[in-house]
């Protein structure tokens, strides 16, 4: 009896899972930018996973091999063992570029996720407080947000990074970037809350004596979750943009092989003037894939969370 029911329920979940997958597939076909974006990021993640499983990622450190080796060029510093060279060659300081890519992608994504998550959380809280309470609270928060939008965040980040400098870690980098990552979410989510505040169910909750706190976080927040999820992708993208920019300026974690630091070393050693395409090519390609992927996912999620945008032309 029990086995029968578990079988049946397993069958049911299998079906619904399959159904869900089919539904998702159908939706992706209507919303190709979401699909392409997810595919771009998924292929990068797959690359990292396979890389960690099969490649010697440890060679991201300097002096792991001879310097300036083109792909598959025999390594004169490790004769006998490294006659086949390295798949993507080495950089000026003897890092294996392939290892740098495998180790660098998750580090860069990690900075983006830390900053994006903090940014969106702080932004959401500020947006709810401002829009729900209104009055002078709203005025103060909105004015600060407006000022923050006019001042380019990266300039403030440069001042912060110049002053921390000594031995920034990847996590600290994420924290630093989050200092300016809350501004844009705070503004856009506030606008959404303002619209939502006027809706009937909020009115009813207020009339029935629910506290402001639980109206905000139990009634309105779940309804805004899709929108907040969509803005999370956007703020992860801008956090990565800011962090890579800072790193390329030489204000990043020097001992970590993030993608931005790889760009920095490329600029520092003029790899282009030496024609070392295997060194500057991979980080450019990977960063382009990350940015375009996140951009397409944001556009796709926008359409999903905001049905008014759905294909009007």
């Amino acid at each position: 009896m029990t086995t029968a029911t578990t079988d049946a329920s397993a069958d049911l979940t299998k079906k619904t899972f399959r159904r869900r997958l089919e539904d998702f597939g159908r939706y992706i076909r209507r919303n190709p930018s979401l699909g392409v974006g997810i595919a771009l990021l998924a292929s990068l993640l797959l690359f990292v996973i396979i890389g960690y499983a099969t490649y010697e990622v440890e060679r991201f450190r300097p002096l792991s091999g001879g310097p300036d080796l083109a792909p598959f060029e025999p390594d004169p510093y490790n004769p006998g063992t490294r006659d086949g060279g390295y798949i993507l060659g080495t950089d000026r300081q003897g890092r294996d570029v392939m290892s740098v890519m495998i180790a660098g992608i998750p580090l860069t994504l990690q900075i983006g996720l830390i900053a994006g998550l903090i940014g969106i959380s702080v932004g959401t809280i500020l947006a709810f407080v401002a829009a729900y309470y209104g009055g002078w609270v709203d005025q103060v928060i909105s004015t600060i947000v407006d000022v923050g939008l006019t001042i380019p965040g990266i300039l403030i980040l440069i001042v912060i990074a110049v002053n921390i400098q000594s031995g920034l870690s990847v996590q600290q980098m994420g924290l630093a970037v989050s200092a300016v990552a809350w501004v844009w979410p705070a503004r856009t989510i506030r606008a959404q809350v303002l619209v939502m505040r006027e809706q009937l169910y909020v009115e009813i909750a207020r009339l029935s004596g629910t506290s402001g706190f639980s109206i905000m976080f139990k009634e309105m927040l779940p309804n805004l979750a899709p929108y907040i999820g969509a803005s999370l992708v956007g703020s992860v993208a801008s956090a990565i943009l800011a962090s890579v920019g800072l790193e390329a300026l030489g204000l990043g974690p020097f001992d970590s092989p993030t993608l931005g630091m790889t760009i920095y070393w490329n600029i520092q050693f003029s790899s282009i003037l030496h024609g070392m395409w295997w060194w500057f090519g991979p980080p450019i390609l990977v960063l382009a894939m990350i940015f375009v992927g996140l951009f397409l996912i944001t556009a796709g999620l926008d359409e999903w969370s905001n049905p008014r945008l759905r294909k009007r032309v």
Binding site: I151, P152, I160, L249, N266, L273, F280, L287, F295, R312
Partner: protein, 344 residues
């Protein structure tokens, strides 16, 4: 009219409110620049001086003089509030002190040398990107435009997601390193001195093509996407239906009805985009070793020249705030629906 009424009417005045906002931007930004170094507990200026003292070298001569100037200027023994007051007074007079790395050259003269290059480059780039991007977006958002446009412009739109400097690296490799069509770096040929002549002007243009292309290509998409969105929104509006019902020619509908209304919000976006364009172009200048503000900022970061970093960031923020103020104030002239009187 009592005095209080006059005060009230001044306060509700649109221009006055925008001006207050402009002052607020400068105040918040300069306070942040003042507080961040003190919160971090480190003193980049002192550290730099110590570092140079340990190294000896060419800096030795100015060191004592600088240390004296430094402690006199900032009165480090004084309470924080007095330091803050002095700092604000200096900023107000646009006195950012001497550069540490190029002492006794002042921060102002360092910035003055490079500002014209950045201004020229960015003004041209922004104009081209705004113009071309807006037209592309208008065509993309117009139902009657031919289908092949989609295929031409869509790849360019995705470039909007890519930072300028990545594109700059690709362009420099293809067109300067491999094809040798354009110079690899600099604002003008190494052997020449800036002068007012046709040859020099041509040289400057030749050097600017690649940096400008990377900025224009990567920022086109921003304008095109915004414009397309507005065109699509306008499509269902009553005035469009009325104009169509009148039997107006398609080209007239496009320019005089759809584009004319859709282009207004683009000008507001212009104010917000200026900051992005500047910060985006910093690394482009670094990659091309273009003699502009971005490169000076990069050198200052490398040499830990805190006064230059601080002065430049302050000036850039003032410029952006001022540009935003001007665009905000002129906006009601462009769009009669927004009036000066209503407040924000």
């Amino acid at each position: 009219m009592t005095f209080r009424d006059i005060l009230a009417s001044i306060y509700t005045n649109y221009i006055f409110r925008r001006f207050l906002f402009f002052l607020l931007i400068i105040w918040i930004a300069s306070t942040a620049i003042f507080l961040i170094p003190r919160l971090s507990g480190q003193d980049p200026v002192k550290e730099k001086l110590l570092l140079e003292a340990q190294r000896g070298g060419h800096m030795q001569a100015g060191l004592e003089e600088m240390a004296a100037e430094y402690s006199r200027k900032f009165g480090l023994d004084k309470p924080l509030l007095v330091q803050y007051g002095n700092y604000m007074a200096d900023l107000f007079r646009f006195d950012f002190g001497p550069s540490i790395a190029y002492f006794p050259k002042s921060v102002n003269s360092l910035i003055g040398d490079s500002v014209i290059w950045t201004f020229g480059l960015l003004a041209v780039c922004t104009f081209i990107a705004f113009f071309v991007g807006t037209i592309a977006g208008a065509l993309l958002g117009w139902p009657k435009s031919p289908n092949f446009l989609q295929y031409i412009f869509m790849p360019i739109l995705t470039l909007a997601a890519i930072p300028y400097y990545l594109l700059a690296l690709v362009l420099i490799y293809i067109f300067a390193f491999n094809l040798d069509w354009f110079p690899l770096f600099g604002g003008y040929a190494v052997a020449t001195l800036p002068e007012w002549s046709f040859n020099f002007a041509w040289d400057v243009v030749h050097h600017a093509v690649l940096p400008a292309s990377s900025i224009v290509l990567a920022s086109l998409g921003f304008w095109a996407l915004g414009m397309r969105g507005m065109m699509v929104t306008n499509q269902g509006e009553d005035f469009m239906i009325a104009a169509e019902a009148k039997g107006l020619r398609s080209i007239r509908l496009f320019f005089n009805y759809a584009v004319r209304n859709a282009v207004l919000p683009q000008t507001t976006a212009l104010a917000l985009s200026l900051g992005t364009v500047f910060t985006g172009s910093v690394l482009v200048e670094v990659i091309f070793r273009y003699p502009g503000l971005g490169n000076t900022l990069y050198q200052a970061i490398k040499l830990n020249d805190f006064f230059v970093i601080r002065g430049m960031i302050f000036i850039v923020i003032v410029t952006l705030g001022l540009a935003t103020f001007i665009i905000d104030v002129t906006y009601p002239l462009l769009d009669p629906r927004v009036s000066y009187k209503k407040g924000s």
